[in-house]
């Protein structure tokens, strides 16, 4: 068995890698002394993949919104009942989540890792979907959708994406809508499954106090090579560079206005380390401009325009990228005006190199802190994996980031023509 070992001495971590003949890669990050073992089986398929083609582009298929998430729910059903019961019998907690670009199945356990791991590998590879269970699931997911519809933080964020994008499917709720899921049936679920759940489109990650070679042996035993590798072409609609709308508003039962705003980025179709570099550069910039140590944050806070809920983030994937920042404010427009004014101000006087250095070091320290948590490691690892990036590269990118590059990204990203604002007002 071929096992690759990669050491990350500066953060005291080691990663073991194994490639199965099907193309499935498995990663093990041992965490000595930890009680919990956390295993994930993920596919490069998420809510944004609602259009794709097979057979080298001949058949273009458009599937109902929310289907990746629906499939995630349905995989737990097996021929002999729900796989949740089997995990529960072992005392472990199975779970799954669907993101924009991936679907992730996982469990965490403290004992009987082997049995749990085999269960995970087996159930994800053996769907058993019936029309009857699909119909029942529509009610359960319907309630999940309603829960998110009443969740102001969720709505304010998706409304911002809707303001950014004309067509990009990232603007569509991950679970779809009650209307869109009504069109889902067994056949279309199997089509998606057969397209995106081939081992070559997937990955396995185990974090915890485990023996890597035993994990890889189990993968060897339990992964079915399934013959032909499907040739998947993910189709994304042409998306204009400009934002769709500058401002969107919704009314919900909230006590005061909630807002999210940000810049739609026009540079994103980078994979690998470039993608990570850009992500970190924008995050450093956001921290410099509006982090807690910034003058802007302190002015806004002192004037009562923002409170502790204020936060910021940047996302970059193969078909989109955007920054988003917000929280609660009695006057989101005033916050927007101040942000614009501050960025203009920095544009004219230039970025401060001292704060750049200080924030870069702080972010690197906070990255180390995340390595304490098995869940955080798993989550971070998977969130960058399908962009051809390794999570441990973060540390090197922090170390090797250059001020000139950050200046360049500053000029590119903060384009006022692409600034959108989303507000939830009290009903």
């Amino acid at each position: 068995m071929d096992i690759k070992t990669v050491e990350y001495k500066n953060v005291d971590e080691v990663m073991y890698v194994h490639e199965h003949q099907s193309g499935l890669k498995t990663f093990v990050i041992p965490k000595k002394g930890y009680s919990k073992k956390y295993a994930t089986f993920a596919t490069h398929y998420g809510s944004i993949n609602n259009e794709f083609s097979l057979n080298g582009g001949k058949d273009v298929i458009r599937v109902p919104d929310g289907i990746a998430h629906f499939l995630e729910h349905k995989l737990f059903e097996q021929k002999d009942g729900s796989v949740m019961d089997k995990f529960s019998k072992l005392g472990s907690n199975p779970n799954a989540y669907t993101g924009f670009a991936q679907t992730v199945y996982l469990f965490s356990c403290t004992d009987r890792f082997k049995e749990n791991f085999e269960l995970l590998l087996t159930f994800v590879q053996n769907p058993h979907i019936t029309e009857e269970s699909v119909e029942k699931e529509k009610h359960i997911i319907g309630q999940e959708i309603r829960m998110y519809n009443d969740n102001a933080n969720w709505r304010v964020f998706f409304n911002l994406l809707d303001a950014f994008y004309e067509k990009n499917p990232v603007k569509i709720d991950i679970a779809g809508s009650i209307e869109s899921i009504s069109k889902i049936n067994k056949d279309v679920l199997y089509t998606c499954y057969n397209t995106f759940y081939h081992p070559s489109n997937m990955m396995v990650l185990v974090v915890g106090d485990v023996e890597p070679s035993e994990v890889f042996s189990q993968v060897e035993e339990n992964i079915d090579s399934k013959g032909q590798v499907p040739e998947i072409k993910r189709i994304f609609p042409e998306e204009p560079e400009r934002i769709r709308k500058e401002y969107v508003e919704q009314k919900l039962a909230v006590s005061m206005p909630l807002f999210q705003m940000g810049f739609k980025d026009t540079i994103f179709n980078t994979k690998g380390i470039e993608c990570l570099k850009r992500e970190i550069a924008v995050k450093i910039l956001l921290d410099m401009i509006m982090g807690r140590s910034s003058e802007l944050y302190n002015r806004l806070y002192n004037e009562g325009l923002i409170n502790n809920s204020f936060d910021f983030d940047y996302s970059i994937e193969e078909s989109y990228a955007y920054s988003a920042f917000g929280g609660e404010s009695a006057d989101p427009f005033a916050v927007r005006d101040r942000v614009v004014e501050e960025i203009r101000n920095i544009k004219s006087k230039g970025l401060d190199q001292n704060s750049y250095e200080r924030i870069r070091r702080a972010m690197s320290g906070r990255f180390i802190k995340q390595l304490n948590s098995i869940e955080r490691i798993s989550h971070m690892f998977i969130s960058v994996y399908f962009k051809d990036v390794n999570m441990f590269d973060y540390f090197n990118v922090y170390e090797n980031m250059s001020f000139d590059y950050v200046k360049k990204v500053f000029d590119e990203h903060f384009n006022f023509d692409n600034l959108a604002l989303s507000v939830i007002n009290p009903a």
Binding site: S88, K89, N93, M147, V254, M256, N308, M363, G365
Partner: protein, 429 residues
């Protein structure tokens, strides 16, 4: 290698002036943390003031008079993290100050992070900005406004709001009915002078618990203890125990209307069981069978069989001996959901507990308790809770006691649990 397992042991390394200091020596994590807790009775007179205090203190201190100065310092210290806030554990109010920073090996050899971060933490707590024998008025006004927004903002998270509201309505006439962060009404009475007066009481008399987590050496520990000994303390207050009330009278039925699309149904129960009694472990198993996970009766029947909900669970408030069932449902399905929930409660009472439900419950709790050792904050919270309850049981003792609970014990416990309040959050007509 023995240090690797020390998350199972906490050593009290010092006790003076009403300050108990604990050290959890561990090399497992890449950061160290220091948590300082102040412990008070949850009371209408002080809850809001206690909630406002950390918010004002975090605004600035001697040497670092603004949020910006504190943040700049934390960034310089390799991105150390500081936070503070309040929670309630039963009828205790806990005011927490938290600090986490990277271990020495990830910083330059002369970084002295333990000393420098602790100095900052201690200054934030003990050296606030004072003007004319009062807090800085501007800070108090702004934080009062923020706290008001936060209290009013509880409705924004409907899932959590429904659970808290159910329990508060249930305990309206007991201290537990007070929200962790106090009330808008009491906030209006607070100013820079009376809050500063309260601060003196807070710092001088409230019992303090300090948890140091990480691989610190004797010199670093001594530095922290010396710093804590310098805090001027007076007569230490004796904090009361949470009263476990039993229920009398009819079930309260409360409906609240808002602009929502999903109904939130919550049922509040009195368990009549105190967390330091042996019955408490039986109650834990009872709760797990009822609604403590995917194996539970509520999940299996309300969600998997009837398809009525996406989420449904039961949860204990162990300090006060309460239990709450919570679920998000189609508004028109309220009665149907109620019936299924009541059937599950009856089933346990009648001993209809399958081997699967019983065994999966015990194992799931075992996994949960073992897992908490992987998080510094969870370990600290565990030991703090045990101290407040007054039990010495560590995680392993807990697991042993849970394993001894039988199905019959669970059925016996079921007889003690009384429904007190049904709360339903629903749409505007």
């Amino acid at each position: 290698m023995s240090t690797l397992l020390s998350e199972s042991h906490v050593s009290q390394i010092a006790a003076f002036n009403g300050i108990k200091v604990f050290h959890i020596k561990s090399q497992k994590f890449k950061t160290n943390s220091i948590n300082i807790f102040f412990h008070d009775d949850l009371s209408k007179e002080r809850a809001t003031k206690n909630a406002l205090l950390p918010a004002v203190l975090r605004r600035g201190c001697e040497g670092y008079p603004t949020i910006r100065d504190i943040s700049l310092k934390l960034e310089e210290l390799y991105g150390a993290v500081f936070d503070c806030g309040v929670t309630k554990k039963g009828e205790s109010q806990i005011i927490q100050f938290y600090l986490e920073y990277v271990s020495d090996k990830y910083a330059k050899s002369d970084a002295n992070l333990t000393q420098k971060t602790f100095d900052l933490l201690l200054s934030i707590i003990t050296k606030p900005i004072v003007e004319n024998n009062a807090f800085k008025a501007e800070y108090v006004e702004q934080e009062s406004k923020n706290l008001k927004e936060m209290i009013e903002g509880r409705v924004n998270d409907k899932v959590q709001y429904a659970v808290e509201k159910c329990l508060e309505e249930m305990c309206k006439n007991e201290p537990f009915g007070i929200y962790d962060y106090g009330s808008v009404e009491d906030l209006a009475k607070i100013n820079a002078q009376n809050l500063y007066e309260h601060y003196k009481y807070f710092l001088e008399t409230l019992p303090m618990y300090v948890f140091i987590f990480g691989d610190l050496d004797d010199g670093q520990i001594k530095y922290i203890i010396d710093g804590l000994s310098g805090i001027k303390r007076g007569n230490i207050k004796v904090v009361g125990k949470t009263g476990i009330e039993s229920k009398a009278g009819d079930v309260k039925d409360i409906t609240e209307r808002m602009n929502v699309t999903q109904g939130k149904l919550c049922l509040g129960f009195r368990t009549n069981i105190s967390p330091d009694s042996n019955d408490y472990y039986k109650l834990m198993v009872y709760n797990s069978i009822l609604g403590g996970g995917l194996h539970s009766k509520l999940f299996q029947n309300v969600r998997e069989k009837a398809g009525l909900a996406y989420y449904v669970f039961s949860r204990l408030e162990k300090f006060k001996g309460l239990m709450v069932i919570s679920s998000g449902i189609e508004i028109g399905n309220r009665d149907k959901a109620m019936e299924i929930i009541k059937n599950q409660l009856e089933d346990i009472k009648n001993g209809n507990i399958s081997d699967y439900e019983y065994e999966a419950s015990i194992k799931s709790m075992e996994t949960g308790i073992k897992s908490l050792k992987d998080s510094q904050l969870q370990v600290v919270d565990f030991y703090l809770s045990q101290h407040i309850i007054g039990t010495d049981d560590g995680p392993n003792d807990m697991i042993e006691k849970i394993k001894q609970v039988t199905k019959k014990d669970v059925v016996d416990i079921a007889g003690k649990i009384q429904l007190d309040t049904v709360y339903f959050l629903t749409s505007l007509e």
